[in-house]
């Protein structure tokens, strides 16, 4: 078992009160598993990624535990977390490619990063070159500035950087969303290759593009308003989802070839609830077409069949 997250609660402190961005998140990630993470904007995907790396000054670890390869991950203790960053857990943040320092050449950026992690750059030069080549980049990119690279090239550089120290867990937050389809495909295929070669043990891949997840992920977890709605093998989530929210989310995806003339797809009416004062009971009930009285109690996340979890009163078989 690589990662075990139990009842994780992380809040943002704001002037108006606590934003309950993660409010009891439970899941496990196995060795070698690539998990897609989906859900509407604001449901807590990026917060989950950030929490596993570094809580910023306004984030507070309220409750819950994280275990990686059997060891407790002390996310509330910034100093103790240092040992994990890049060595054990790596994050490719949302908008990573636009966040590269424009005044530093790529090579220098990588060297500085390694030094800050206590690694001598010369120790990994050979490996670095090998991996750049593997993702289709000329080692020449090390001598270039970020602005001289295309979006796809930058995204590959970021991926090689994040995995250079063979972390156990890689979290990629919308790492390919800004890329066109053919570049997206090659970046995603390199990620799978990195897993296959053991450069990373397991991966969380955050995206709005569920059809992309289907191409590469073993499992998919769907979040809603700071909690897990459903987690299952990728093909189950796409072909046989059980949670009403997942069903509506999948229903909103255009198939290649679908057009508005034939049948309009529907978005999910309404918007997710604010997390400053999250609703009680099932958080989806205001938008759920089959909500009933029992939904005013919070449904627990239960394993409805092996490897398939859902948090809904109507799916608990």
């Amino acid at each position: 078992m690589t990662l075990r997250v139990k009842d994780l609660k992380v809040y943002y402190q704001t002037l108006r009160g606590d934003v309950h961005a993660l409010d009891g998140v439970d899941f496990e990630l196995a060795d070698g598993e690539i998990m897609g993470l989906a859900g509407e904007s604001g449901c807590g995907k990026s917060t989950l990624g950030k929490s596993l790396i570094r809580l910023d000054s306004r984030m507070r670890h309220v409750d819950g535990t994280i275990e990686l390869d059997g060891e407790d991950v002390p996310i509330a203790k910034d100093r103790e977390m240092n040992r994990f960053r890049y060595h054990e857990i790596s994050l490719i943040p949302q908008y990573a490619m636009s966040a590269l320092n424009p005044t530093r050449k790529i090579g220098r950026m990588i060297n500085e990063l390694l030094q800050s992690r206590g690694v001598r750059p010369s120790e990994v030069t050979e490996e670095l070159n090998r991996r750049l080549e593997l993702v289709g980049l000329d080692p020449d990119v090390l001598k270039r500035f970020p602005i001289e690279l295309s979006g796809g090239m930058k995204q590959r550089v970021v991926m090689v950087m994040a995995t250079l120290l063979n972390p156990s867990l890689l979290i990629a937050d919308e790492a390919t969303s800004a890329l066109d389809v053919s570049t997206q495909r090659s970046v995603v295929e390199s990620m799978v290759e990195f897993r296959d070669r053991g450069y990373v043990k397991s991966m969380i891949f955050v995206t709005h593009d569920i059809s992309l997840v289907y191409q590469m992920a073993d499992t998919v977890m769907v979040m809603y308003a700071g909690r897990v709605a459903e987690k299952a093998p990728a093909s189950t989530i796409i072909n046989d989802p059980q949670h009403p929210y997942t069903k509506m989310l999948i229903g909103a995806l255009p198939e290649v070839g679908a057009t508005t003339d034939e049948a309009r797809l529907e978005g999910i009416p309404g918007t997710p609830p604010g997390l400053l004062h999250p609703p009680t009971g099932c958080r989806f009930k205001a938008r759920c077409p089959i909500a009933s009285e029992e939904c005013s109690e919070t449904p627990p996340l239960v394993e409805i069949e092996p490897g398939h979890w859902a948090a809904c009163w109507k799916t608990g078989r």
Partner: protein, 303 residues
């Protein structure tokens, strides 16, 4: 309604503007009222440059762009430009950049009022605003009187479309307006475009995501390195892509029920017939198209 004829755009690039880059090459294109035309292509293929030229934000190096018979590149003075923007508006990828964070988001409506409708009464104006907010399916209570950071990307994007609708627009240039939105919001915005099209609006829909381009559009244009690789009725372009580049792009679109490996295997088992592409001689910057079936054109091969 909108017609691009032999449009080129050459940028000066390099340290001292020493070399040039042909970002758009010999593009011919028509958008009719009530028609959605998708511009599809990878990043750097010239999509946004075409959008900017149509909106008069940059001038073509060669060729003409006309809107309802008038040459867009020759709009002179404030008055003519203002008239043009009454009918032609653009919405862009990053909605946050179109709002000033220190003002409430609905200020964008006030700006339209002060330049185009100074004489409308407060009550009439309010009704007009509520009307367009309804059209983009927002709840006024959720979006009025709020600062940009209090609204989501999808809400801001729809406010920008609502702003465009305050004017009597006939053509909308939508540049990558949904790539930043989540799947549910994407469909809402796409359905909104389909509603507008039914009201007779022409839409130039720029995207790098082919499945989205396909969902709303009547005709699709696949651009490569500034030139048109393929142009035709959307359905035909997707069912029967003719240009090797279009075929490659289509095979990379992630599909919900088929993996890339399955798509590749199928292509290898039934390779499509080769189509004879038009050619140009070395140094010729034109980009001719040949009509392979009715209304379905293929362009030159550029490697």
């Amino acid at each position: 309604m909108l017609e691009l004829s032999h449009v080129h755009k050459v940028y000066r690039v390099g340290a001292f503007g020493g070399s040039t880059l042909r970002a758009v090459r010999d593009v011919n294109l028509v958008v009719k009222p009530g028609e959605v035309v998708s511009l599809i292509g990878e990043s750097g293929s010239g999509k946004s440059t075409i959008g900017k030229m149509v909106l008069g934000l940059t001038k073509p190096s060669q060729g003409t762009i006309t809107f309802e018979g008038k040459d867009v590149t020759r709009l002179r003075g404030f008055g003519e430009k203002k008239e043009y923007y009454r009918h032609v508006q653009g919405v862009f990828q990053d909605p946050f950049s179109s709002f000033n964070p220190i003002f409430k988001a609905d200020r964008v409506f006030e700006m339209i009022r002060s330049s185009y409708f100074p004489d409308v009464s407060d009550a009439d104006w309010r009704e007009k605003v509520l009307d367009v907010i309804g059209t983009v399916r927002l709840d006024p209570a959720n979006v009025l009187n709020k600062y940009p950071h209090q609204l989501s990307g999808g809400q801001l994007q729809r406010l920008l479309i609502a702003r465009a609708l305050l004017l009597d627009i006939r053509l909308l240039v939508a540049d990558e307006i949904i790539s930043m939105l989540d799947a549910s919001t994407r469909i809402d915005v796409l359905n909104l475009l389909a509603d507008l099209k039914e009201r007779g609006l022409g839409i130039l829909f720029v995207t790098h995501d082919l499945s989205l381009g396909n969902y709303v559009s009547d005709r699709s244009v696949i651009l490569r390195k500034g030139a048109i690789a393929e142009l035709g009725p959307t359905r035909r372009v997707f069912e029967n892509p003719l240009h090797p580049y279009s075929r490659h792009l289509l095979s990379c679109v992630p599909q919900l029920h088929r993996t890339w490996a399955e798509v590749d295997a199928e292509l290898a088992a039934n390779p499509p017939e080769d189509v004879v592409l038009p050619t140009v001689s070395e140094g010729d910057d034109s980009a001719p198209l040949v009509e392979a079936e009715e209304g379905h054109f293929v362009g030159i091969d550029q490697r």
